[in-house]
């Protein structure tokens, strides 16, 4: 039995790596991202469990039933209805569970928030971003090599209005665990509520041509009072 253990070690190591994936997402910084992180963790646990069972079965079979110079013909088993029904049923139950959990998070996160959110227009263009605070007309425009910094308050729902006049871009902030495309001819919206102060990097995630890699921006999340002071210091665009 001693030499069997040698075969199992890689499987255990792979499992450990899979579990380490849980710690590797950018730390969530919005109310919505916290829910996504929870859902991601659920999926990761399910995937790790399935990997453990299936990889374990494969590993056990190739070790236990490896040819050992005994060349007699194995029993030619080729069907077992009960077993087959079982292995159709188990993944079906798992998939239903994952769907229900996915639907719950999706419906909550995509629902329109009540009340008057802070409205920010996000315009993707080749190859930078233009952010406009719609209520105060303050506008920030980036140029490649000099990315804009969008300042937002913590604890206030922000409604991003996503538009583009040239090609498709995608507004992506890794720490918010979300992206949404800006598509010519389509008015897209994304609502979220930041719950952690800090500076978060973002960049275009939909390939948009030559300088796609330079469509960087950042978001600085500050307290509501700091935000009000910052906004008042900005000059509205004509």
């Amino acid at each position: 039995m001693g030499r069997h253990r040698g075969y199992r070690r890689p499987v255990v190591a792979l499992l450990a790596v899979a579990l380490a994936l849980g710690a590797c997402t950018a730390p969530p910084a919005t109310v919505e991202a916290d829910r996504v992180q929870g859902l991601y963790n659920l999926f990761l646990i399910a995937a790790a469990a399935v990997f453990g069972v299936v990889a374990g079965l494969i590993g056990w079979n190739i070790v236990r039933y490896r040819a050992r110079g005994d060349e007699s013909l194995p029993v030619q088993t080729n069907t077992n209805l009960a077993l087959e029904l079982l292995w159709w049923a188990l993944p079906t139950l798992l998939v239903i569970g994952l769907f229900v959990a996915s639907a719950a998070v999706l419906n909550t996160n995509d629902a329109k928030h009540p009340g008057a959110p802070l409205r920010v227009k996000v315009e993707g263009f080749q190859w930078q971003w233009r952010f406009t605070y719609l209520d105060s007309k303050v506008q920030l425009t980036g140029i490649p090599g000099s990315p804009p910094e969008l300042v937002l308050p913590v604890g206030t729902t922000v409604d991003f209005e996503l538009v583009s006049d040239d090609v498709i871009h995608s507004f992506f902030i890794p720490s918010f665990l979300v992206k949404r495309d800006t598509i010519p001819g389509v008015d897209n919206h994304l609502e979220l509520t930041i719950n952690q102060q800090g500076t978060y990097t973002g960049q275009c995630a939909e390939f948009c041509g030559l300088l796609h890699d330079q469509m960087l921006f950042s978001i600085r999340a500050v307290s509501a009072s700091e935000f009000a002071a910052w906004l008042a210091s900005q000059r509205p665009s004509p």
Partner: protein
Amino acid sequence: MTTAELERGTPRPAVAGTRTGIVDYLTTTDHKRIGLLYLFTGLGFFLLSGALSLVMRAELTFPDLQFLDESTYNQLFTMHGTGMIFFFASPVVFGLANYFIPLQIGAPDVAFPRLNALTYWLALAGGLIAFSGFLVGGAAAFGWTGYAPLSGAIFSPGNGSNLWIIGLAFAGTSGILGAINFVATIFSMRAPGMSMFRMPVFTWNMLVTSLLIMLTFPVLTGALAMLFIDRTLGGHFFDPAAGGSAILWQHLFWFFGHPEVYILILPFFGVVTEIIPVFSGKPVFGYRGFIFATMLIGVLSYSVWAHHMFATGVVSNLFFAITSLLIAIPTGVKFFNWIATMWRGRVRFQTPMLFCIGFLFMFLIGGLTGPFLASPAIDYDVTDTYFVVAHFHYVLFGGSVFAAFAALYFWLPKMTGRMLNEPLGVTHFWLTLAGMNLTFFPMHLLGLEGMPRRIADYPASHGDWTLLNVIITGGSAILAISVVVLAWNVIASVFMGRGAVAPDDPWGGYSLEWATSSPPPHHNFTSLPPIRSERPVFDARMTAIASRPVGGEPPVPTDPSADQEMVRG
């Protein structure tokens, strides 16, 4: 008899009894020669597209642009994806299908041999046309997905983009014609006794694949025609400013594109389902259930396309979430079939089986990251990042390419009459396994940390990104070495004639290709064994043993003992 016991002899021509000059290959309508042309064309584009990825990896090792500019980088990833999908994976599928569907069903050739030749030359022309963009001032640079309006004349001027469209249209047309040929062959040219439910699983999976091609490739060809009209004739299909729709392209492209993923994996499910039973000494477990799962994947694959579009915000995300998750069920079932096939068998670890076991582990990982992308809330985060790149490379490299290598070691002796070198094969396997995991596993982490795909450069301020990118580039170097080992094995064993002469049935095979010579004669068979199950060659071997006179020669490997219990379903 093992390969070591076979003495070396003079190489036989690729098709016994005929000449094998260049002109013979240029003018052939023989399915075996066309199959070989397809396979080596596919391997050629594999080397080319792989070389492009190595250049990209070298550039991405460290932040800042070292020796590429964005324009070149964008062409490289576009043509890497285009080449691997359309001009490597598809030709390898068509090559294996061309060679082995007629052999497995006991037919002398495909139904339409001349059409078959046209199909190959269209595919080759398509590849050359698409790649010729590099020679006319720049290849296409909008990603293999060609999203509108970026792929339009305003944002992607230049003939490289037009050549990409024309090349893909050639490949699409070739695919449709080839699929029609395979379906006609399977439905009308099976040998007496070869009922549908006695067909080998590879042929079954190619039937379902061909039906998928016939229903999806026309959509691609149509979309390409619309894009071409927009670009060159002033059309407005995908121009929102003139009342067109940018999203329309994505619907058409992915209605083709997602079934295409199954077109590139179902044949390889068939390959491993040929190899695992042979190297386990057992029949495939749950043959009919396995085929039903293949059909279900085929049907479901039409209903999942918009999971590529969750982040566009303009599709019904929940509908496409449930259909995409459902497809995990028949795929998962196949794993249990493969495992139960090995259960209580005699598993032999020769190179074809090593690659199948590698396939099981790697495709398992690729399969398990799929549900993350099928759940819209998680997909919003990880789509268009390196997480997706990791996912589809585990599926297409860990799945399709591993199975293609398994098929090469399994079937090249049949096709060329030469065995490949086993120690080199084992070396190739371990290098591929190590290189693949070092290259593609860290991409999961990169994606989760927010690195988008398709960027020529990344900021140095993300400390982890640099470390992970260094590891990935190192892994890709190991993959490059593994391909050199494979190429040397094929060149030395086959073309230089150093490999042992392949017997008719080197592995103890089950299906009809093992009942003829290696390589098979023109029109394939001089006689056929009776076909009474899905394993006619296995049955013939058992019959020969059972009718052996008492006190005859000692049993050969895989013989049953005298009182072996047989369970047949």
